[in-house]
């Protein structure tokens, strides 16, 4: 199973095996990790699953943002070029080893 490393804003790391086909958001929420709220349950409609994908090699393996994701991120605080909505990142074999950082809070 692909391993994903989630880093909380305070630096605490969680390495989690996430089944292929789940989203990165589900990997966090279903394992009760703090830092991702996912209020809309993965519908790309709330932006409370915001994460940063800092490694460009991994970022390149993730399909580009849809218009909807761009729009929702547009309203999120502390957005950086590496920001993504984790409900829109589907876990695949290629994403084994992916590291995502969480923002200070989800809005």
């Amino acid at each position: 199973m692909p391993k994903i490393k989630y880093i909380e804003h305070n630096g605490k790391e969680h390495e989690i095996e996430v089944p292929e086909g789940w989203s990165v958001m589900e990997g966090a929420v279903k394992n009760m990790l703090p830092g991702i709220d996912a209020d809309c349950g993965g519908a790309c409609a709330c932006a409370t699953c915001h994460v940063y994908v800092d490694d460009p090699a991994f970022a390149a393996k993730i399909p580009p943002k849809t218009d909807m994701e761009e729009t929702m991120l547009d309203f999120a605080p502390e957005v950086q070029p590496t920001s993504r909505l984790s409900c829109q990142i589907k876990v695949t074999k290629e994403l084994d080893g992916l590291v995502v950082r969480m923002p200070e809070s989800q809005h």
Partner: protein, 422 residues
């Protein structure tokens, strides 16, 4: 008529189920004032979740009553427009003699996006950290001044007081005049003839005074040498909004007044009511105050302080087998979506340690999702943390008086007694 009586759910249910489906019209202020709209929505969710009412005081409209359908409409802003020129975001908007004001909640992209971003910094995580201690200090003072052992109106003394102070801070509004904000906010959403104001003309007269007051504030801020971080200064100095028409400025002021006031106020009152109606939950919370954040989300769901948001179809559109026509009014009943048992388990129960309390639709979804949601939660959380430091219980002593409105789901009064301090 004394409307502060316990809702008679049995006759409400009988009435709702006796009607021919086609005549079902949940958009009646009286149903909300008597808290008897529930069986109407229950029946619609079961029998006709996307429902057309041909005739109502607001004209014909569609009701969307299930959680996932509401989400689908809310996130499809291309087809379901919020634009004020079509009537905006409330079922009454666009009626004869009511021309909706331009404000960013009642706009589509790109204009919406640009204006929304101008005001967003006021509720940024950094600003909330500044506001938190201020709100806490005020909450403590408000609670310390409450009478012990004698009945008082929780709405007036706590819910209004706290939220109006916060709003005054966001606007940097003259603090001594802050109750004007409450009054104006109530007038904006008031239905003439049901309490606060009698006629539409009277409402317009209050609007003029409200507009004039805020015009002075604009002039003062726009000419100030240093730019402050309040909402009016943000609007007056940002290149995206500084050339707005006076009407558009006023529209946005109205939005921020109502959005930052009514909703949180009514949820604070709702929390006291819900805990009184569910003593086992009150007990659970008292024993474990770390459940406060979860209780706050649960209360926001249970209360649903805005019962609906309205959209207008920009094109013919087939939705769940129904033919919505271009120009049709589409009402997303958040109050119903939050009781949809396909998404929320035991939705009629108030459960402070619910498994997934953030899963509610009270803030809406998509580009118009409530911008002040975290500030609302913060105020609720702080007031309860401070309550538990002081009072073992707050006892409801009478039925609340509910608001006559299909939009603002709230309370005019809730009388309580605090028997003793901790």
């Amino acid at each position: 008529m004394n409307i502060a009586v316990k809702p008679d759910m049995k006759s409400a249910r009988d009435a709702a189920y006796a009607l021919p489906l086609a005549e079902l019209n949940p958009a009646q202020g009286i149903l909300f004032q008597t808290d008897t709209m529930w069986p109407y929505f229950e029946r619609l969710r079961k029998e006709d979740p996307v429902h057309y009412t041909a005739d109502s005081e607001f004209g014909p409209y569609w009701s969307i009553t299930k959680y996932n359908d509401i989400m689908a409409v809310d996130t499809n802003h291309q087809v379901f427009s919020s634009d004020f020129t079509y009537g905006g975001i409330t079922i009454g908007g666009g009626q004869a003699n009511f021309e909706p004001l331009p404000m960013f909640i009642a706009m589509d992209p790109p204009r919406h996006d640009i204006q929304r971003k101008v005001v967003t910094p006021v509720v940024s995580p950094a600003n909330l950290q500044v506001l938190g201690p201020i709100i806490r200090e005020r909450a403590g003072k408000i609670l310390d001044d409450l009478p012990i052992g004698e009945p008082f109106d929780w709405v007036d003394k706590v819910s209004i007081e706290l939220t109006t102070m916060t709003l005054a801070t966001l606007f940097d509004f003259p603090f001594a005049d802050r109750r004007k904000l409450t009054y104006w906010s109530d007038v904006v959403t008031a239905v003439p003839g049901h309490g606060l104001i009698d006629t539409f003309e009277q409402k317009m007269a209050v609007f003029q005074e409200y507009h004039a007051y805020f015009t002075n504030l604009w002039n003062e801020r726009v000419n100030a040498t240093e730019t402050k971080g309040d909402l009016i200064s943000m609007l007056a100095h940002n290149p995206a909004t500084r050339d707005m028409s006076p009407r558009e400025y006023f529209g946005n002021v109205v939005l921020l007044t109502v959005g930052g006031n009514d909703t949180t106020r009514n949820t604070i009152t709702g929390s006291v009511l819900a805990l009184n109606q569910n003593p086992d939950q009150y007990q659970k919370l008292r024993e474990n105050p770390s459940l406060i954040p979860s209780m706050v989300s649960e209360t926001i769901r249970w209360q649903t302080p805005l019962a609906h948001m309205r959209r207008t179809a920009t094109q013919d559109f087939e939705f769940q087998g129904k033919q919505i026509k271009k120009g049709d009014k589409v009402v997303m009943w958040y109050v119903s979506g939050n009781r949809d048992d396909e998404v929320i388990e035991r939705p009629n129960d108030y459960i402070v340690d619910r498994e997934n309390p953030r899963r509610h639709i009270s803030f809406g979804f998509g580009i118009h999702r409530c911008v002040g949601n975290r500030l609302a939660e913060l105020q609720l959380q702080i007031i309860w943390e401070e309550i538990f430091k002081r009072f073992p219980v707050i006892e409801q002593v009478a039925e609340p008086k509910r608001t006559y409105s299909t939009f603002v789901k709230g309370y005019e009064h809730l009388h309580v007694v605090i028997p003793k301090r901790v």
